[in-house]
């Protein structure tokens, strides 16, 4: 069953690439619009040899790492504080809603004024996009921990901070993990969108730059790298998730 899924999935990608190559070679659609897989592979090979590929991946990953890392720290702290103290939740609620629904990219001219036309602006947008789901999910997770668990811990003499560290936080792992999952996607989106506007040397900037020169092959090559990075991030998180949550035995609470 599992093997069949993998086979069919691989087949699906193979068919897409083959049709793409064929359509482009036969001239049904001009390679100017869609390039073709072999040309993209050649461009990637060249970029890998010249070091350009490693450089733009490094720039984007660094921005992503700093933005998402800061969002994890701030989001967890805010989320735990707001989940534990209702008054904190009430105070930050309006701001979270604003950051959640505002088109944050629209602030990029302001960030350029404050942080300069470079990685700082990209990191700020990536951070703001990813911090809200992490904070909101942590808050919801802590708030919804079963009262029975809390009372049981209290009855056995646990102090409030024991309840937080040993009961509330472990019990919220699935919610927090879901928040991190949303956050990773949004942090990556933030980096790519911001790089479309801010020339930082990363993958999004490379797409925008080559797009401006109508170099379809190079544009699609950078896009492929972004797709691979996105899939890898998601897979890595699933692995971490099952590791951290491995103490849970039953089918959930």
């Amino acid at each position: 069953m599992r093997a069949r899924s993998v086979m069919l999935g691989a087949l699906s990608f193979a068919v897409i690439l083959a049709v793409w190559e064929l359509v482009s070679r036969a001239g049904w659609i001009s390679p100017f619009f869609i390039s073709r897989p072999t040309m993209i592979a050649a461009a990637l090979g060249q970029a890998a040899r010249s070091g350009d590929l490693a450089h733009s991946v490094w720039v984007s990953l660094r921005e992503f790492g700093v933005g998402f890392g800061a969002a994890v720290v701030v989001g967890l702290v805010l989320g735990v504080a707001a989940g534990w103290f209702p008054i904190v939740e009430y105070a930050i609620d309006p701001f979270i809603w604003f950051v959640y629904s505002a088109p944050l990219v629209a602030f990029y001219p302001l960030f350029v004024l404050w942080l300069g036309l470079g990685p700082g602006t990209v990191i700020a947008i990536s951070f703001l996009l990813s911090v809200t789901p992490i904070a909101v999910n942590t808050l919801t997770g802590i708030r919804n921990v079963s009262p029975t668990l809390r009372l049981a811990a209290r009855s056995f003499g646990a102090r409030p901070h024991d309840v937080l560290w040993k009961v509330a936080l472990p019990a919220s792992v699935p919610m927090i993990a879901a928040g991190l999952r949303l956050g990773i996607g949004r942090a990556l989106t933030g980096v790519v969108i911001a790089e479309l506007f801010v020339p930082s040397g990363g993958l999004g900037s490379s797409i925008a730059y080559n797009g401006g020169l109508l170099r379809t092959t190079e544009m699609l090559a950078s896009l492929m790298v972004i797709v691979v990075l996105g899939v890898l991030c998601t897979q890595a998180l699933s692995a971490v998730e099952s590791h951290v949550d491995s103490w849970r035995t039953g089918p959930g609470l």
Partner: protein, 255 residues
């Protein structure tokens, strides 16, 4: 809910009071800091100036045109996404072979920031409405497909078997059991899709366009008119909040 470990819970002021107070404090600091010379108002503007700019924007008359352009892009792209993504998600959920074939590319797109495709869409469809509609379509369609598919797969098998035992045809099972049971998941996809679609319109118009809200935001940003820029940002946020609230209300209806 939280009694027993938070003794002060009962005497705390309510949600609305604290929220209003926090926002008022934020506005006061934002208004006073530039006035006292702590920060340069060129970088931050002031709430009072944003309010004035709001009146100016409302009376200038270009807002209606830009809003109409952006709304048309949003509605067209979203309607196309609904028309394609819901049936596709239902099909993928119902037929495992189709799912094995189409799920990997869809998942790859799901894990990718779809807005990275924006420059390609501009190359294919030009700088007009077409490229924006394509971005909205893709941004909304992917989460709807993924959630619809998951919704169909999570339908309780006992329900399906029960319906079959009472002589329901396959079509009856699909229309009367699987569709209603997966509707909540479809709505979650729609809610995620709405916020991605709104971001898509704004970003696509900021990237390259001749009119629309995103175009105005870009112009004002380049001219560093922070006060008017914030008016447009607040308008889009209010629209996003209204749409999300609307979808949440619909979710409560179907859940």
């Amino acid at each position: 809910m939280a009694q027993g470990f938070s003794p002060a819970y009962e005497v705390l002021p309510g949600r609305a009071t604290v929220g209003v107070a926090a926002v008022a404090l934020f506005l006061a600091v934002w208004e006073l800091a530039p006035r006292l010379g702590i920060v340069d108002p060129f970088f931050t503007s002031l709430p009072s100036r944003v309010l004035l700019a709001g009146v100016e924007v409302a009376s200038a008359g270009t807002l209606a045109h830009d809003a109409a352009v952006s709304l048309t892009e949003f509605v067209t792209g979203f309607a196309l996404a609904l028309a394609v993504a819901v049936p596709l998600g239902l099909l993928l959920g119902a037929f495992p072979i189709l799912r094995d074939l189409i799920d990997p590319p869809v998942m790859a797109l799901y894990a990718t920031p779809q807005l990275a495709l924006l420059p390609i869409f501009v190359l294919w469809l030009g700088i007009g409405m077409g490229s924006k509609i394509a971005v909205v379509f893709l941004g909304a369609a992917i989460p709807i497909v993924v959630n619809t598919m998951a919704g169909v797969r999570q339908v309780d098998r006992a329900l399906v078997l029960a319906a079959r035992s009472f002589c329901a045809t396959r079509r009856d099972v699909f229309v009367r059991v699987i569709l209603p049971a997966s509707l909540p998941a479809v709505m979650i996809g729609i809610r995620l899709g709405v916020s991605r679609a709104i971001l898509g319109v704004v970003v696509a118009e900021m990237y390259v366009s001749q009119d629309g809200i995103g175009n105005q935001i870009m112009r004002l940003g380049s001219a560093f008119r922070v006060d008017r820029l914030l008016v447009y940002v607040l308008l889009v946020s209010a629209f996003g909040l209204a749409m999300t609230t609307l979808v949440r209300k619909m979710e409560e209806r179907v859940a």
